[in-house]
């Protein structure tokens, strides 16, 4: 692989991992959501993300060129080879925590993929165009809930504020760049995260203030996923998600 291919492989992989791990977390709500319509909504989002993960991991495998499949990448990679952002793997917490996270991540994805639509890599641009159409539903849904919970009862207000405070320290990582990103940006493949950050901040600040919530100040920010360093939670996700392929390698339907 050339340096550019290596960079593209990791870039695509990290986008795929974000979708895969987020999808896993939302799927955990299946049959546990507060109302039936919410169960449908969260599992619909999870399905969108699984589809996105599948497209991205298929493409990553193609870039890698070793004859691997999307399934190989999802089920046979070790924790340290996953590059999803830490915020995606945190446990769901209560409903407010899940909605606060969905607001932060879906707004990020909306602005990120809106930029990626203009990538010179046509496969990434196509996946981005598709993702934007889906993510705007996720973002609108999360926004509605954050407004409703923030501007609701004292209990709901406190819970969503606690969730936002807790999650804030994981948002810095969303905008970190590395040398591989720089290489791809020069080729007009990767997204410029600085402009994404401005748009994301504007949108999130607007929703929080409308929801009568206070925006936490930027303090210590967790980091590590770029080097495959994760919270303890990713290992637990993988031990469940990869169980079958680990216990019975080559098992098929």
């Amino acid at each position: 692989m050339t340096k550019e291919q290596q960079a593209l492989y990791k870039y695509t992989l990290s986008l795929g991992d974000n979708a895969l791990i987020q999808s896993y977390r939302l799927s955990e709500w299946c049959s546990h959501a507060p109302i039936l319509e919410e169960d449908l909504a969260l599992t619909n989002f999870a399905l969108d993300m699984t589809g996105r993960a599948q497209m991205l991991l298929t493409y990553a495998a193609q870039v890698d060129g070793n004859g691997k499949t999307d399934d190989d990448l999802a089920y046979r990679r070790k924790e340290r080879d996953f590059y999803n952002h830490l915020i995606m793997e945190l446990p769901n917490g209560d409903f407010a925590f899940t909605m606060a996270r969905l607001l932060l991540t879906s707004a990020y994805e909306f602005y990120f993929f809106t930029e990626l639509k203009h990538s010179d890599d046509k496969t990434l641009a196509g996946i981005a165009a598709k993702t934007v159409k889906e993510v705007k539903y996720h973002m609108a849904h999360a926004t509605d809930w954050v407004l409703r919970l923030g501007d609701g009862t004292t209990e709901s207000h406190n819970r969503i504020q606690d969730a936002v405070n807790e999650l804030w320290q994981y948002t810095g990582e969303l905008f970190e760049t590395n040398s591989a990103d720089a290489l791809l940006r020069d080729k007009n493949i990767a997204v410029d995260l600085l402009s994404v950050k401005d748009e994301w901040k504007n949108y999130v600040s607007k929703v929080l203030s409308e929801a009568t919530l206070s925006k936490p100040t930027d303090g210590y920010m967790h980091s590590g996923s770029n080097n495959g360093m994760h919270t303890e939670y990713l290992g637990h996700i993988l031990s469940e998600m990869q169980y079958l392929q680990r216990a019975y390698p080559e098992a098929t339907w």
């Binding site: 996105r52 497209m55 598709k130």
Partner: protein, 152 residues
């Protein structure tokens, strides 16, 4: 193309894959026939089924070897659905997507016409439905629930 037009959408058998705009092209190469399709929704589980249907239909008509290729760019949009497909959806009981609303950004609060009695007095019951492409509505006039194919 004509042979493939009989393949129904596995989730909505009233329309076929050509009318839905999923079937993009057929390439005839030295190695056989390559069918280009574009997925509708990222997580649509019907895509695997469609691929199998394409192969089976063509092979039973003596067309082979066949490969099916998924192409992501340009991304599928409900704008590619033919008017005929929308008419069929409506008859089938699914309100077809409103084109303009996708562009206006007011994609969540549309006035959707009841596919049965054509009343515009309808309410959204659930933003998300039985498949990734639909939401649930109820007609206040004829009291029937119905599905709406979301703009995409």
């Amino acid at each position: 193309m004509l042979i493939l037009s009989v393949i129904p959408d596995p989730e909505i058998p009233a329309v076929n894959i050509s009318e839905m705009g999923m079937l993009r092209d057929v390439l005839i190469t030295d190695k056989g026939y390559e069918i280009i399709i574009t997925p509708t929704y990222s997580g649509c589980p019907a895509m695997g089924m469609i691929e199998m249907d394409i192969k089976a239909t063509l092979e039973s008509s003596g067309v082979n070897p066949v490969t099916v290729k998924l192409v992501q760019h340009p991304a599928w949009t409900t704008d590619w659905m033919s008017d005929e497909a929308k008419e069929k959806l409506s008859k089938y009981g699914i309100a077809p997507p409103l084109h303009s609303s996708c562009k206006a950004g007011e994609f969540l609060h549309n006035v959707i016409e009841c596919p049965r009695c054509k009343s515009k007095n309808t309410v959204q019951l659930s933003r998300f439905g039985s498949t990734a492409c639909k939401s649930l509505y109820k007609c206040e006039n004829c009291k029937e629930p119905f599905e709406y194919f979301k703009c995409h």
